[in-house]
Symmetry: C2
Subunit: 409 residues, 2 copies
């Protein structure tokens, strides 16, 4: 008898009917002869509604109190799902984060799980029960309720799977798996049957949005096999695990893209030694998320520097930089908005150094100008004109034969 | 510096505006130089909405899961009220039942508080914070969330006041206090400035509905001074405490009434010895609430027996009695519906045995026939025709001079 952890997100439990559907998926797994632990999020728009009420009372509500407020969302779902399972004749019990022994840092709104006392859930399983655990929440030392931040329920599921040494953690969502690229925009996008943790991490960070990077990291660290699959359809999803049979593998396994990017360039930076760290410390302190950073190639003084940010952060970024102009010692700032980032991802790149060149070649053949480049061992990203983004995604998806038969399936 | 416990019910916290109003009442008390602990219920119709969702999933949801579900209601209120207080510049912190150290029996839906670890709340108070505690809920041994049943938030407030040795427990509600009778129906009903625990207990049991009897009992056992007052208006309410200056007191302090009562009579009960206990065990087992019981005065055999129930329980009661006719050994059942119970309450009755006689005298002078009578040390109840109920209430209220100047004020 294997132990399976299942996770269902907010959309999957968004109504009473949806909860009935989830109950049926849980029962299927139980009837397969498995022990089942289920992690659920708050129902649909519950969190937004609670946040709305708090905002009516305060522009800056305490994060401790927001955790107290928001953690009720999952607590409602766990009891309703348990009631649904009981009504269908299955023994089940619900546990909040603190009841399930999920310990976190004493940080509100974005805590990390520090420990799980698996004995509590194990005891309920040993009594034959299906155990329903509230995702997204835990208990800090001192007894306060904490929440895990975005993607928190994914993390709860993976952490529980690790603590319980589960055979598998199934992440049920509104898509059927991880695709070679976004099927809404690119023809012939294919569902991958398997993908490595590192590839998934790059895709997650690039906005594929299926799984939160923190959950993938956690799964990688504890070697938890994940499967991303649909809560509405029966087909199998995408398995995420460490080892992939490389022979079946293409070098490039996915194309990710993201728009609304601005490139900011700082010219005439007289102190290139301390300038870099001063600028990015300043932006980080103001919660501006900087993605790609490129310093001028020559070691000339004054140097210049480019970095990419989200369009929405441009006004604030310029304001901050201008305010600290004297201290940062630069001549001028330039920027270009309406850009996009397109990336190819694949573990095979490590042993295939020509992949980046091929990407640039394909883009150049199609008159798509590359404005910034960033590479990691298993990813190449290029910043291009936003209007060319979908075209570039389609061209790269075709060029690297991602829709072809060679994708493992 | 005194410690005051304040309790606000569901109507008082039914909207964001109402929560703002509650925050202002709390701040007033704090600004008076007092330490303040606040107990709140779930917002308005929240509990009904949660129950509705559970009922969609099951006709008979587990009581453990219902407690898990319903306890989220108060948790939402405590965080919102704390956010409101913070926004107004006051240090405050919210605590769920389990966080506040409220221990209960391991019974779901109707648990009794067994112990409170006051050190947790005391520590927050000592740091200068207003402490907001979720009413109606606690923690059973083993770690399950429990709820206290009807009037549970009143009980939480009184129990906390006892554990913290608070100077006073203020119960804020939608009425301005305890009245000599129901002011919606009886002219010249007067608010009492003070009433004893026992009198309040009788009035609470008689459907005055202001305070739950369990909370009053708790207050009496631990000698907690209560005040029932309005959350919307500033006037002082009714103080409930042990000792009342009897010289200021009238013998009768209140007139309570309740309609929709049926009298059931069992005739020809051949085994009067065991019949009584058999009948009432049977009815109790079937959750039929029996109020007044009268056995035939003569010791004739077969005996007869009358008791009063709510109209709504009549069909079920007759069904049960007929099903067990052979075993109970009686000849026939009769009943009369559309009756009402009218009661006079007052500690002064203990030393004034003529009060019951005066009540019957007044009723008889007004051609109101008494069909059943029940008395306790501080209460006399009569069952009468329902159509005469309000008339009787007015007559008794006048006869015992409850609207007069002698009521302490």
């Amino acid at each position: 008898m294997a132990l399976i952890v299942q996770k269902f997100g907010g959309t999957s439990v968004g109504s009473i009917d949806h909860i009935q559907n989830v109950a049926n998926r849980v029962i299927e797994e139980k009837n397969n002869g498995n022990d089942v632990v289920v992690v659920v999020s708050a129902m649909g728009k519950t969190t937004d509604k609670l946040v709305g009420m708090a905002r009516e009372l305060s522009t800056n509500p305490s994060r401790r109190e927001m955790d107290m407020l928001l953690s009720t969302g999952e607590q409602v779902t766990i009891s309703l799902l348990t009631i649904a399972l009981n009504a269908k004749g299955y023994a089940a019990t619900s546990l909040t984060g603190w009841q399930a022994g999920i310990k976190t840092e004493a940080v509100h709104g974005d805590a990390r799980i520090t420990d799980i006392d698996a004995s509590i859930v194990s005891k309920e399983i040993s009594e034959g029960k299906i155990v329903i655990v509230a995702g997204f929440q835990g208990l800090a030392e001192g007894g306060a309720i904490t929440t895990l931040g975005r993607g928190g329920s994914d993390t709860t599921a993976v952490a529980l799977a690790a603590a319980l040494k589960a055979e598998k953690c199934d992440i049920y969502t509104d898509v059927t798996g991880v695709f070679t690229t976004d099927p809404r925009y690119v023809k012939n996008a294919r569902k991958l049957s398997v993908i490595s943790y590192d590839e998934m991490l790059e895709l997650a960070n690039l906005g594929a949005g299926v799984l939160h990077p923190r959950a993938v990291e956690f799964a990688k660290n504890y070697q938890v096999s994940l499967e991303v699959r649909s809560s509405m359809e029966k087909e199998s999803g995408t398995l995420i695990k460490e080892e992939i049979d490389m022979e079946q593998n293409l070098v490039v396994r996915g194309v990710a893209f993201e728009d609304d990017i601005t490139r900011v360039t700082i010219l005439g930076l007289s102190n290139s030694l301390t300038g870099l760290s001063s600028i990015f410390s300043l932006l980080a302190k103001n919660h501006i998320n900087v993605d790609i950073i490129i310093q001028s190639i020559t070691e000339s003084n004054p140097a210049s520097l480019s970095f990419s940010i989200k369009n929405e952060d441009l006004t604030e970024t310029v304001k901050i930089l201008e305010k600290h102009r004297d201290e940062l010692q630069y001549e001028s700032i330039e920027w270009e908005s309406q850009l996009a980032k397109i990336s190819i991802v694949g573990s095979g790149m490590i042993s295939n150094p020509g992949v980046a060149a091929e990407m640039f070649n394909v883009l150049s053949q199609n008159q798509i100008q590359v404005k910034m480049v960033s590479t990691s061992e298993i990813k190449v990203s290029a910043v291009i004109d936003q209007r060319k983004m979908l075209e570039a995604a389609q061209i790269l998806h075709d060029a690297f034969e991602l829709s072809g038969k060679l994708v493992n399936s």
